[in-house]
Structures are given as structure tokens and as C-alpha cells.
Symmetry: C2
Subunit: 242 residues, 2 copies
């Protein structure tokens, strides 16, 4: 039997946000590879080997998945959200570079955190927007700052992944300062934590009132564009721009 790798997006947390395509791949898999909390979301069953691994070992994990597939295993590499958005798909292709073998690979999309959060908030990403990973593990801080300023000048709504960690608590404070400089104090900003899980918490405020502690590593942060507004409990960005 020939092996394969399916890099599957589990969505933000709720079972009813997992696509049937992903559920089918998990049902056929012999092995599940991924970061510990994501593998913990997979129900154990006879014949399924779970391979949880720690954070920040994405390339090792990808190589492991390719090795298992080369040995004939059917491997699901699981990510939260969508595997192509700051998750395992890029790591898999990096690991594929220079290998002689190439097993069957499928990337199975999922509901990424910013879209689950946007849906709960209303429609803050209803016009042009960008997605920025605020972790500076894999890029210099100067590039993050440059992107923030240019995105603000372009008047994009913005979604921020990985806003804050214990390793760099000061980074997100600096992000908020830059955004206040570029967008002014009245701009709407929303903090969406653990959307679709029992820990879900949603808050919308202005840049003037935003505090770094409003985000943690389970939070996606969404900044409106200059036209983003509230209607009742909702936040949305109109489809048209002046």
C-alpha cells in the first residue's frame, strides 16, 4: 500500500467547523502528527498512532511525516485553523526540498482563526484586508513594523496571529503603539480568544483603550479599516470605499 501525507486544518476548535474532507482523511489515516494540543483533538481508535510533538519543531515534524509516508503509512499532519495560514503546510514543503522521494501530498483547507473570529464579530474583514503573524521567531522585528505601517497606509483591515507570548511580552505593546500612530486612537480593534471553544471570549474596543494584556497566544486580533463601524453588538466593514 502506498503512503500519503494529508496536511489537514482542524478549524478553530468546534467539531462542527471541521470539514467532511478533513474528517474523511482522519478516518483513513494510520498516523496523526502535530503539535500536542492539536493532536489532543483527535479521538483515539485502534490502529491509529498519535505522534504529538512540541511547539517550534515544525521542520522535524514535517520530516517525520514524510518518512512515515515513505514507509507506506497514511499520515495526517494536523494544524489548528487552516494548514496554509501560519501553520504546517509551508513547513512540509520546506522539508520536501532536496528529498529524492515525494509521497502523495494533499493540503486540506480548514476554517482559519481570523475567519472564525470575524464571523463571531460580524464582518470586520468585509473589505480588503491582510493577515500578519506577529511572532518574530521567523522574521526580524523591523519587517513586522514595516508591514504594519504600509498596511495602515493602504487602509487594510488587519488580522494578527500570534500576537503575544511569554517569550516576548513587549512586542505586542509596540504593535499597539505603531497602530495608534498610523491609525489614530478611535480605530476599532477586536480581540477574539479561542473562538468556538468553551473558552471563547470576544471584546471590541478602540486603539485608545486597547491594552497588550487583552491578547494572549490563543487570541486573534482584528483591526478595522478607517470605515469599520458598529451596528448593535456587531462590528463590520462596509463593502464600499470612498
Amino acid at each position: 500500500m502506498s503512503g500519503w501525507v494529508a496536511v489537514a486544518g482542524l478549524g478553530p476548535g468546534a467539531g462542527d467547523l471541521v470539514t467532511p474532507e478533513v474528517a474523511a482523511a482522519l478516518a483513513e489515516a494510520t498516523d496523526v502528527v502535530g503539535y500536542i494540543p492539536y493532536v489532543a483533538r483527535i479521538a483515539p481508535r485502534p490502529g491509529l498512532v498519535l505522534h504529538p510533538s512540541d511547539n517550534r519543531v515544525e521542520l522535524d515534524r514535517a520530516r517525520h511525516a514524510l518518512d512515515l509516508a515513505a514507509a507506506g503509512r497514511r499520515v495526517a499532519v494536523v494544524s489548528s485553523g487552516d494548514p496554509g495560514v501560519f501553520a504546517m503546510a509551508s513547513a512540509l514543503f520546506e522539508a520536501l526540498e532536496g528529498r529524492g522521494d515525494a509521497p502523495e501530498i494533499r493540503i486540506l483547507p480548514g476554517i482559519t482563526a481570523m475567519l472564525a473570529a470575524a464571523a463571531r464579530l460580524g464582518a470586520p474583514l468585509g473589505h480588503d484586508f491582510c493577515a500578519i503573524n506577529l511572532s518574530d521567531n521567523l522574521k526580524p522585528w523591523a519587517l513586522i513594523e514595516k508591514r504594519l505601517r504600509l498596511a495602515a497606509q493602504a487602509d487594510f483591515a488587519m488580522a494578527f496571529y500570534n500576537p503575544r507570548s511569554r517569550a516576548r511580552p513587549e512586542g505586542f505593546a509596540r504593535v499597539l503603539e505603531i497602530l495608534r500612530e498610523e491609525c489614530g486612537p478611535g480605530r476599532l480593534i477586536s480581540f477574539a480568544r479561542a473562538v468556538s471553544t468553551p473558552d471563547e471570549a470576544i471584546r471590541t474596543t478602540t486603539l485608545a483603550e486597547a491594552r497588550p494584556e487583552m491578547a494572549d497566544m490563543r487570541t486573534v486580533v482584528i483591526l478595522g479599516n478607517s470605515a469599520t463601524r458598529r451596528v448593535g453588538p456587531w462590528v463590520y466593514t462596509p463593502r464600499s470605499a470612498p
Copy 2:
């Protein structure tokens, strides 16, 4: 019985990319409202009223959905992809402005076209990226051009929705010119048409070779960033930036 509106994302086309959450809402709905080709994706059943409407009447459609819900109906407003990305969610909140009533509203996320396309291509959106609607129905052309240039300077990967229509065939040719100026001729660009449907067609080339005719209104276009590369048949953007 009290009415509700669920603005539901049907994903890019395939049934196994519709979330169970959306399937459940459709099963409970009394009415389905949406653009003709999207309503055509809903299986008729006794007791379900289908309300297909033409393109470019989003606000009328949203008002109709709110009126039906106010009358106690359970209304699914269907969009392709995700309802919050250049789709019906923003229109619904625009229609809600100034109304005295507010029925129960839920926005149900879906797999948006750029993420389905990215999954087929590999991982071209694996680093920071932006999403730009190239339709100039609802915004001035000058703003599109400004956003393209700033996004290029920020070295975002980019996903383009609504790249080309019969009403404005020249717009996308101009977009390609601007991108060639800003990003150079060697930059990778992918055209993903009707992903996950029987009409699916995928092509990756360079800006030097890209032609406007490679896109139509069923195509999402993905431009790599300066680091985007090929490995085998795949296109991906590395997770790290220099």
C-alpha cells in the same frame, strides 16, 4: 416561532468542504436567499423556499432576508466561500443599519476561495499576505492601485478576488502591469479557477508570462512574495523571512 438569519459560507464548491455547522443551518432553514448560482447549490426539499436573485443586488437581498426573519422565517443567506470575505455578511450589517428590529443573526464561516486555491497550489500564503477585491464596483480604481503598490512594498503575498469581468476587461491587465513594475518579471503568480469543482483548473507562471486572459470571474489569483518558490509541482512561501 422566532425567526433568524444565518449568513452561511458554502465553501468553494465541493460538498465535502461545507462545514457541518452550515449543513445544519441549511437543514433547519425555511428560506434560502442568495445569488442564483449559489442558491442552485442547495438541494430542494419540501418546506424550503428558495429565493435566488441576481448579482449586484446584495443590499436588497439582505433586506429581504431581514424582512423574512422578522416575519418568523428561518433564513439562510448563502454565499460561496466565506460570507465575511467579499460576500454577504457586510451587506447584511449595512442593511441592518437604521432598522428598529434585529432578528437573531449568525455568521457561519466557510472555506474561502483563496484558502482552497492555496491548498491546491501548496502553501503560497504561508507567510504574511493580503486579500484584495479587484472589482471597482464599490471602490475607486486609484485605491486599488495604491493598495497594490503598498502591498508589494510590504512584500505581502497577495490573493485577488474578482480579477476580471466582461464589464471591465482592461482592469486586470493594468493590475498585472503594476505588479510587474513593483515585483519584477520573475515573481510567481498562480491562477486557480473553480477549485474543487469539475471545472477546476490551476496554473502557475511568472509575472513576465502572465496574461489577463488567464483569469475570469471564477478565478482567484495568488501572487507570491519575494521568497515564494516551487518544489516539484508545488508552490510555497517559506515561513521565515530574511
